[in-house]
Homo-oligomer: 329 residues x 4
């Protein structure tokens, strides 16, 4: 029985804690949070104890930590955990600064611990199902990927300011999808964008709408379009054109009710936001992490994947700033 700790008792920490608790083979021993009351409540729900990070890293019984605290704590916590010999599951991003993130990766390698980054989309049943069929050769070789990724509404300007910008904060998931689906690395990245929904976002130095084009080493094309505000909800789709066909990953609906009125035929909007849309994905990624620890296998989304996605985000941010495409080695 692996003993684990969850650091961060916010929205996403609570989801990870519940998914850890529901797994056999692992036991949630500790919950930590800078807000004591949040840690208390979450620990109690799952029969765990409250601890601070020193307590967690100092307890030799703890083999694994789930890092779900704020972005700026990811890097120091990864390094502390690695040095303490704990296996790590960490929410994206590793860090907003690429050099800092690389230092974390080095620490992980030196410590020889497992470190999985929470690119949960790879574990979504629809996305994972598509990828498996693509990998199985169903549509031949991939040639072009079109990713549509839109949030139902923009976060507050305060969040925007600390977010690292839309490319690092929001598109990092889409960059991971690009690498995962095309199975190739970027050669060039071109990014453009606008602030169309809310001047507060521009005032915070960011944009809310982007169009990014990636050309890979083998010449495959990836087009990503994103928006911070889609009035109809959370829109998460991609489609990959292959030499023998196409596979599309569509949105998920809460129900399969279709209504026929005097005006139109309608169905539900997509699941409201990421907590609903990726509920199964969050459970599956934790199950995968635990299985990797129990069975000793590799994890599917490594810290190197985290670095690579961050490199793409950096390149996109530079391209947007300069107006010119950015070449990668």
């Amino acid at each position: 029985m692996i003993e684990a700790a969850v650091i961060g008792a916010g929205r996403i920490g609570r989801i990870h804690a519940a998914n850890v608790a529901a797994q056999s083979g692992i036991r949630l021993k500790y919950v930590a949070d800078v807000h004591e009351a949040s840690a208390q409540e979450l620990a109690q729900r799952h029969g765990a104890q409250v601890a601070d990070v020193d307590g967690i890293f100092g307890d030799p019984a703890v083999q694994a930590v789930v890092i779900a605290s704020s972005t700026d704590t990811h890097a120091p916590l990864i390094e502390l955990a690695a040095r303490a010999g704990k296996h790590i599951f960490c929410e994206k991003p590793v860090d907003l600064d690429l050099a800092r993130a690389r230092a974390c990766a080095d620490a992980v390698v030196q410590a020889g611990v497992t470190c999985m980054i929470g690119f949960q989309r790879r574990f979504d049943p629809t996305f994972a199902g598509l990828q498996a069929r693509l990998a199985g050769g169903e549509i031949g070789d991939p040639e072009m990927l079109v990713v549509t990724s839109r949030d139902p509404g923009a976060p507050p300007a305060d969040y925007i300011k600390r977010s690292g910008g839309i490319f690092r904060d929001m598109l990092i998931h889409d960059f991971d999808i690009c690498r995962w689906i095309l199975g190739d690395e970027a050669r060039s990245v071109h990014a453009t964008g606008s602030c169309l929904s809310d001047p507060a976002i521009a005032a915070a130095g960011d944009i809310d709408s982007t169009a990014v084009t990636i050309r890979t080493r083998r010449g495959l094309l990836c087009v990503i379009n994103t928006a911070r505000r889609a009035a109809y909800g959370y829109d998460q789709r991609f489609e990959v054109l292959g030499s023998r066909g196409m596979l599309q990953a569509g949105n998920v609906r809460p129900t399969e009710v279709t209504a026929f009125s005097g005006r139109n035929v309608s169905t539900d909007l997509p699941e409201a936001f990421f907590l609903e849309r990726y509920r199964a994905a969050y459970a599956a990624e934790i199950a995968h992490f635990v299985a990797a620890l129990v069975n000793g296998g590799p994890v599917r989304t490594t810290i190197d994947d985290g670095l690579k996605a961050l490199e793409l985000a950096d390149a996109a941010a530079r391209s947007f700033a300069s107006g010119a495409p950015v070449m990668l080695d």
Copy 2:
């Protein structure tokens, strides 16, 4: 904290046990099964004890029992549970014999316990969502209901023989849908059918395909078509025509992948069978049962609903046997 027992550790008993265990406000204390090993395994998974029914009914700490054992045990167990003052959740049907089922209902009334029958379809997100919108007046008054209900494959002939026939075994769910959606009771029932998929079903005295028409007291129409064998899987749909529109409840798919090949555009088959299709419904019905116990409210699918569905099944069986419609009071 309510203490509960699950009787029957088969396929459906295991689902109910897991759903009870996942609820707060209730604790799974006992598991019983005629196969000791099954009971043992299930009890262990959820930290419960194995007991026999006498032990369960004799323990004053037990307030609720979930009956998921074989159909012929439902009636005696309901009566024993009622006399012991336990609240009851029982899988459909109450009994294959209507008089016997009525005796159970009397025992429940006399004991003053809550008795919920497992018509889980009412708790399916799609079906429940449709019903709520219908009840909210979205399409005016219901006028016609078309129910399509098909299994992926017929059960073994042995099961067929003990099943009470297709109308009592399979259509009982559809009869409940009819009453629930139209909000009216049947005035006449006409049933016809055939054995088309497997002569063993005919040899067992049953049919595998039915077409049932119900006309209600207010003149509303319900058409039910069922088949024991649909090569494409489990097909569970209905649609209700109202004075101002129509609402359709469609099948649920495992993923939202769409594939474009050189031949066609394809999506997943529906969820494979009832355990997959109604996973959320099984959880929701147990949550509803527990909430009713905790809060003291009524349950949505009573033993009276069980009787009424059985009356329709009986009427359909008689109509099929005689070739003529059967009138109900």
Copy 3:
């Protein structure tokens, strides 16, 4: 070059005239109508002449007539046309009276002319496409057919009174679909129904909603549900369950626009009514008729098909009146 006449310059006559005019191999020579002005206008549009029926049947150059006049004129016109040796395309029904319709069929046989009945649905691209795939064995043997057939709104009570009743007027098309798709004749017919939308229909001695079950000689099942009023428009669907799968024929939409609002995801309503829904079918049936005349082959919807559909309508009307199923030989 075949010379042809269209009798009846109403809504459907105008469609047939245009489709005849657009065919090569046939020339529209005459148009007749009891309203001279309608005939005049239609004739002028297509460079044809106005004539009365005597003139048409008396002109030896005319080889084919298209009968699109009122229902009560179909039988006498078929007989006159047959005696004059003209090939006949006649709108459904042959006649509301079965004996009279049989007399027409006799006249046709004696005259040795081709007589095609306008069951245009068999020529709809979707319906015909489905039938071809079924006939090609794609889903094995057909077992059950579910037909949904709903009009956007009821005709005026005056029309209802002269219509022969909903089974002969509206369901005659659905009965033809049943025979065509299942490839088998009815053994028993059960019909029930209600008047739910408009008391004027009941006052005219008719109903507006029906549920009809047909069991064929081989035991196949067909369930037909119809309504005179669907608030969302013209609803024309059927699905056939086979031993190896299912084929569904869905509605056709004017456009493929999908709208995502803050409330739902919506598409167009189905094509508004039969003139729009079956535009391609009307063209294809006339093309088939002309090709049969030019090439000397048989037509796909014979006067015998017209009789058989009428027999089913009669049986359904008797079943509804008596409340009991009606057996057919």
Copy 4:
């Protein structure tokens, strides 16, 4: 009655000729083609005469010409027609050379004739329906447009060589969609692409897959992805995100049959290629041209639209060649 001539009796000329012939208010007087036999056959089908271009432009009775000959003849024919005072419908592109195309536009202005360019997609029922709803404010202001435009297979290398390159030959339609839907002009264009399907295309100096990003003066974004080869057929979709929702234009299917097998649920592939997909659009654009001539109104797709689309194609070609975005005034 307007008298008209069609120049070019190939695939698209035959379609235009048939659509002209089916219009009232216009009469097809002449057909011209460098292949006499093609002209002869087409003229005969519609009761027209064969003529050469001198004969057409010299006949004062001819008021309108439809230019459907090879691309290199468009510019000289437009100029000759303008000087002869004929109204012009010309297939895209005006010319592959922008300066030459501008000279044509000058000639048209000087002559004061109507000149419509065949951007038939604007007349497709689905695309036009979407644009009308967008213009009606249904989704607020447009913010982002995603265009997917894929051919079923690449043309022969010979065609590729004379085509002006994929941006001028294939994407010109998509550039027109961009301007039409966003209602704004491009400020910057970035294009990238690859040759993935057939080395013969690369050998001919072209690519087969492109990803183009346009940012407009108001900061709106447009992403176009195209491929010369989609194994599943002709794929013509776009979607526009607005401040209050999204509108999608989907593909059109030959039939609405859905098949359920033991493997999946499938529907038809999209209409095979542009002749099938845009059949209604070709008819509607000619109807619009004729109506504009008869009623004296403006046409919706002017020669200026042709120039603007060509400017975008030029910019995209330059961007692809240089690797850098191209700014437009």
